[in-house]
Structure formats: structure tokens, C-alpha cells
């Protein structure tokens, strides 16, 4: 058959199947015959829409440069070279869309939903020069920039759920080691495990704080309990902290540690089942930043372990994870808001870094009121920056 006959001139017919016809030659005679039959069946199909035709030769694409409005675009890629080709639309190193293995003499259709920007297109051999694709804003892309569709949040929310799963996994593991060390009566190992467990807990506290029943068992502060340290409801992390640091013993703590293990395991399951809304990515980070700015930094939480600084760093990491997931959307809608967010996080990090000594932080009681106020102020400024996110992308 001639090159012309081999072409699938059918309409929307996805000719991705076509290379099969030449693919394995001897290997594939029967399947190839089937594919050819298929080709002839579609040769008289309806007219295709306005596809952008591109012919890939031995060295170049023709045309090599496209300028299109944003939105859905279909390309009809003809392989006029002597080798099978792959045709890709690239955004930096990332593939936007591609068609693989278009055999010589064949063509294939590719449909891409293009956002405004500058892209490259590949043209056969890897050493061949690339073409360009310039996508200009359309009315719809402008509308989506200001108010991204709900599907734009699937990726960021998924990524945050992966983070919650990873951090709660670390928490469960560390709580297990803490329980083990307490059962062994090893105070030093228990202290180390306690400190390790607090970090993943703090990274996701913005979300777990809303799971009230577990939160009240895992993280109550004695200050909020009627009989303080002697209160029967004094359980969880701070009860263990009080025992290990305040009383210097693991004695009697095994049931508390066991309960904590069970509670964080339950927390992990609840987080997995939790369905987050798009506005909660910024919302939870905002709440956490405010908590820190409005009292937690001033008062401290770990009266006995004095490990607050490392935990505040972990809190910041958690906030950064969720808020920054919105940054690509915000950067398109309101670049100044995205820049403000960056600035807020780097200022908070710098405020914490000022206290860092190598890989560790000094005990929190070394920070006087003035130092604490400076730190708290950076979190209030961060809260301000985070609060601008949702309105910038139509979420409030």
C-alpha cells in the first residue's frame, strides 16, 4: 500500500491505532491487516473539525511555530520522516500532551487544553530543533484565571491528603516508639521519641485540631483542665511530657502512652476519610497562623520540655505545605497576593532561624517576652498574607 492509502483520513477517528498497521510487519501481519481494515472503514467518515496540521519532516516541523488562543486545540500530526516519531507539547521539561510512535507515512490526532503561555513542540529526532507554541488568553481562560474551576483544586487537595497521610504515618510510628520506650522505662529514649512524635503532629495540627474528640485526648494542656496536672482528663502528649520531664520518670505512663498510640492511629484513619473543601487549604493554614500569632507563641505550650521552637517550625512547615499548594493558581490570578505569601513565609522562617543554633533550638524559656512578641508578630503578618488567598481565587 502507498503512503497515501495508509493515511487515516477519517474524522475524529483516533488514529493512534494506525501505527499498528506497520508496526511489527512480519511479527504482526494479522493484526496489521485488521488495523488496515479499520482504516478503510473510517476513510469516509465525517469531516474533522479545525485541526492544526503539522508535518514532521526529517529535520523540522512545518509549520514550526504556532500562535493560538487558550482552550481546546486539536493537532493533526503527519509523520513525513522516515522514522517513527513522538510528538510532544512541552512546558519547560514537563509534557503537556504527547502522541507516541506515529509511524512514517501516518498521522495522529492530539487534543490539548492549553492555558496561556509559551510552549515548545518536539519535531522528530531529539537532536532536531524544536518548534514553538504561543498561547494567548481567551475570554474563558481569563474567567478561569480569576475563578478557577472546581477541577483545578483536585490536584492541590490530593497533594495535601498525601501529606496528611505521610505525616500521620510518621506520627503513628513515633507514638509506637514512644510507647515502647515508656514500657521499657527508658526515660531518655522516651523523651527522644516524644520530641520526634510532636513534629509530624504539629505539621498537621491545623487539620487535626478540628477533630475535637481525638484532639482533646491527644493534646489537652493542663491550663485548660480544672485540676490541671492532677485532672483525670489530663491525657496524651502533655501528660507524658509532664511525667518524663516534670517528674523524670516513665513510671505509670504506660497506659497513657498506649492510649495515645491508639488515638493517633484513629486520627490517621479519620484524616484519610476526611473530605476537604478547596477553601480549607488556606483556611486551616490561616487558623494555625492566627493561633500562633495570638497567644501560642507568647505563652508557649510545652511547659516541661520547652521544645516549642522546633514545634513552631513544624507548624510553619505544615502551613506552608497547604497554603503553597494554592500558589500556582493565586500567582495567575493575583501575582501580588502570591508574592505577599512568599514574603510572609520567608519572614516567619527568618524569625525562627534567628534563634536556631545549628540543627537545634534553645529551650523556649530562654526567649523573653520581647523575643516572643517579635516571633508572634511574624505569624500575624503571615496570617494576613494567607487571608488574601481565598478571595484572590474566588473562594470566598
Amino acid at each position: 500500500m502507498t503512503a497515501t492509502e495508509k493515511r487515516n483520513t477519517g474524522a475524529a477517528a483516533p488514529s493512534r491505532l494506525m501505527p499498528l498497521a506497520v508496526a511489527g510487519s512480519a511479527l504482526l501481519a494479522a493484526a496489521a491487516a485488521g488495523a488496515f481494515y479499520y482504516a478503510t472503514q473510517t476513510a469516509t467518515g465525517p469531516e474533522r473539525g479545525d485541526a492544526h496540521k503539522v508535518v514532521v519532516g526529517e529535520r523540522t516541523c512545518d509549520p514550526a511555530d504556532f500562535a493560538l488562543p487558550a482552550g481546546r486545540a486539536t493537532f493533526e500530526i503527519h509523520n513525513a520522516s522516515s522514522r517513527p516519531i513522538e510528538w510532544e507539547i512541552l512546558d519547560g521539561v514537563m509534557v503537556v500532551e504527547e502522541r507516541e510512535n506515529i509511524a512514517p507515512g501516518f498521522h495522529s490526532l492530539l487534543t490539548a487544553k492549553l492555558k496561556p503561555g509559551s510552549y515548545e513542540i518536539t519535531c522528530g529526532l531529539l537532536s532536531n530543533p524544536r518548534g514553538t507554541l504561543t498561547v494567548t488568553p481567551s475570554a474563558q481562560s481569563e474567567a478561569e484565571r480569576a475563578r478557577p474551576p472546581i477541577t483545578a483544586f483536585i490536584g492541590p487537595l490530593s497533594e495535601y491528603k498525601v501529606y496528611l497521610a505521610a505525616q500521620s504515618g510518621l506520627l503513628v510510628k513515633a507514638a509506637g516508639m514512644l510507647e515502647e520506650a515508656i514500657r521499657a522505662g527508658d526515660v531518655e529514649a522516651a523523651k527522644a521519641a516524644w520530641l520526634a512524635a510532636r513534629l509530624p503532629y504539629k505539621r498537621i495540627e491545623a487539620v487535626t485540631g478540628r477533630i475535637a474528640d481525638l484532639e482533646n485526648a491527644i493534646d489537652p494542656l493542663p491550663d485548660y483542665l480544672e485540676k490541671r496536672e492532677q485532672d483525670p482528663a489530663f491525657t496524651g502528649f502533655h501528660r507524658l511530657e509532664y511525667g518524663l520531664w516534670g517528674e523524670g520518670t516513665a513510671g505509670g505512663l504506660a497506659p497513657v502512652a498506649q492510649r495515645l498510640s491508639g488515638d493517633v492511629a484513629a486520627l490517621k484513619d479519620r484524616l484519610k476519610a476526611l473530605k476537604l473543601q478547596p477553601e480549607e487549604l488556606a483556611g486551616t493554614a490561616l487558623r494555625q497562623a492566627r493561633r500562633l500569632g495570638e497567644g501560642q507563641v507568647r505563652d508557649g505550650e510545652n511547659a516541661y520540655a520547652a521544645s516549642d521552637l522546633a514545634e513552631i517550625v513544624a507548624s510553619l512547615e505544615g502551613m506552608e505545605k497547604s497554603a503553597m499548594l494554592l500558589k500556582p493558581l493565586v500567582a495567575e490570578a493575583a501575582p501580588d497576593v502570591a508574592a505577599g505569601l512568599e514574603k510572609g513565609f520567608s519572614a516567619a522562617r527568618a524569625a525562627l532561624d534567628a534563634h536556631r543554633a545549628g540543627e537545634t533550638y534553645p529551650p523556649y524559656d530562654r526567649l523573653d517576652a520581647q523575643a516572643r512578641e517579635a516571633l508572634a508578630a511574624s505569624f500575624r503578618a503571615l496570617a494576613e498574607a494567607i487571608s488574601a488567598l481565598n478571595p484572590a481565587i474566588g473562594l470566598e
Partner: protein, 272 residues
């Protein structure tokens, strides 16, 4: 009209494909996409570990061990290909074929798995492969880090099922991909598993509203798995050359139908 009149099952599916996708709540996709990333990250960790062992064998000049490891360590890469191939530079570095280079196998730029495959099977030697092997190791480590940092685009996750089937239809059925080692059936299996994983993750979202579609897809997966099973050999598969024409045709038809059917998944889930 869509062209796939050859296969009745497909025709039925396609008849419903263009119509309304019964209001899938976009946020119901959050959990499947998250689960998929966790799956891919786990596979990538396995890829890194496997490739490092493979690279060690190549660098030790142990041709037999390297040949034994080659199809095994490729499995996770082939499973996660919809994500791995989003990074065009790494995909080229890790998995490009000789065809992509001006001087084909002789081209000094020809890298990655297939360059090593060529050396091991065609030359029966690891000579000159040290640098290629080191680069492969560095590239899969890089891939691991990049995947970790990637927010998975949902349309690439859902579209990945069809991408994997197309991958089989276009580069595997022809025996093009592993042309020196003939270990193609290992890759087939990995591509099928990768696609099936995606189907499994979104199944709860469509099993009621798209029962016929799901049944057709399951039926074709059953077909391809049944054929692969016939060619199992120990923990892996026999040479691709042993696949009979009859089986190749059944496989090819099922894979093409799956590629067509699964390409409608994005639309069904409101991601087009």
C-alpha cells in the same frame, strides 16, 4: 460516529460515552488521586532500589545477573509511566529508543535502559556501560525526587489508564520496545497493572452510573491477563518471540479496545 465498529462491546460503550457523564462530584476524585500518588511514590522507591542493584551488576561486569535483573527492575517504571513520562527530559534519558537518535544504536547520545539492554543482549558485554549505568541511577533518583514534589494533575492520573494501553498498543505489541531482550511481556504486565490500578481507584465513582462500561473494561482486562498467564515462566515471562499469532491478535484487539474505552474515562469523570 466513532470508528470502532469491529468490536461490539466497544460500540455499546461508545454509544454512551459522548453523552452526559452522570454528575461526578469533582472532589470525589481527590482521594483516588491521592491514593494514586501514594502508589506511584511507592513504586518509584522500588524503581530506585532495583535500578541501583541493576547498575551495580552492570558495573561489576556481571552480564548474566544484569540480564536477569533488567526486566524486573523495569516493572515499576512501566507501571508508573503516565507520571514518569511527564518529565520529558528524564523520560528521554531513562527510556528512549535508538530510533530517537541520528545514528541509532551507534549514537553516543543513546542512553538509559535500552542502551544497556542493547549492550547486554546484542554485545553480550557491559563494556563501555559504566557511565550509562551511573547516569541511569542518577536519573531515577532525580525522578523520585521530582515525583515527590509533583502535585499530580488529575487529568493525567485518570488519562493514565488509556496512556498505558496506548503504550502497549503502540510500542509493545509490535515488540519495538525491548527489541534486544525480548522481555516485552514483563512490560505488558506492568503497563496493564498500572492501568488497572487507575481503574480500581476510580471504580467507586462510576460503577453504578457506568456499569456497562466497567463490565466491558473488566472483560478486556480479563482477556489480556488470561493470555499473559499462559506465558508465565517462574516469576516472569518467556520471550516475546514465543507469543503465538493467535494470542497476539486477541491481545492486540483487547488492548486496542481498552485504549479506546479508557480514553473516555476523563470525560466520564468530568476532566475533559
Amino acid at each position: 460516529m466513532k470508528p470502532n465498529r469491529l468490536l461490539a462491546a466497544t460500540a455499546i460503550t461508545l454509544a454512551t460515552a459522548g453523552g452526559a457523564h452522570a454528575g461526578v462530584d469533582a472532589l470525589d476524585l481527590v482521594e483516588p488521586v491521592a491514593e494514586y500518588k501514594i502508589f506511584v511514590t511507592g513504586r518509584t522507591a522500588e524503581l530506585v532500589e532495583g535500578v541501583d542493584a541493576f547498575v551495580a551488576a552492570v558495573k561489576a561486569g556481571d552480564v548474566e545477573k544484569a540480564k536477569a535483573l533488567y526486566p524486573v527492575v523495569r516493572v515499576p517504571y512501566e507501571q508508573i509511566e503516565p507520571i514518569a513520562e511527564l518529565f520529558s527530559d528524564l523520560d528521554v534519558a531513562i527510556d528512549s529508543r535508538a530510533d530517537d537518535y541520528e545514528q541509532a544504536e551507534a549514537d553516543p547520545e543513546f542512553p538509559g535502559f535500552h542502551r544497556i539492554e542493547y549492550g547486554l543482549w546484542e554485545k553480550g558485554s557491559t563494556e563501555g556501560l559504566d557511565a550509562v549505568a551511573d547516569k541511569l541511577s542518577a536519573d531515577v533518583h532525580d525522578l523520585h525526587g521530582r515525583i515527590d514534589g509533583l502535585t499530580f494533575p488529575p487529568e493525567k492520573v485518570v488519562g493514565g489508564a488509556a496512556v498505558l494501553m496506548e503504550e502497549v498498543a503502540l510500542t509493545k505489541i509490535s515488540g519495538e520496545e525491548n527489541r534486544y531482550s525480548r522481555t516485552d511481556l514483563w512490560d505488558f504486565k506492568a503497563n496493564f497493572d498500572g492501568a488497572y490500578k487507575i481503574v480500581e481507584l476510580v471504580r467507586p465513582l462510576i460503577e453504578e452510573t457506568e456499569a456497562d462500561f466497567v463490565a466491558a473494561v473488566d472483560g478486556n482486562f480479563d482477556k489480556v491477563y488470561a493470555i499473559l498467564e499462559k506465558y508465565e515462566d517462574g516469576d516472569g515471562y518467556v520471550s516475546y518471540l514465543k507469543l503465538t499469532d493467535a494470542d497476539r491478535n486477541v491481545l492486540s484487539a483487547a488492548v486496542n479496545t481498552l485504549a479506546e474505552d479508557l480514553s473516555t474515562l476523563r470525560g466520564k469523570l468530568g476532566l475533559d
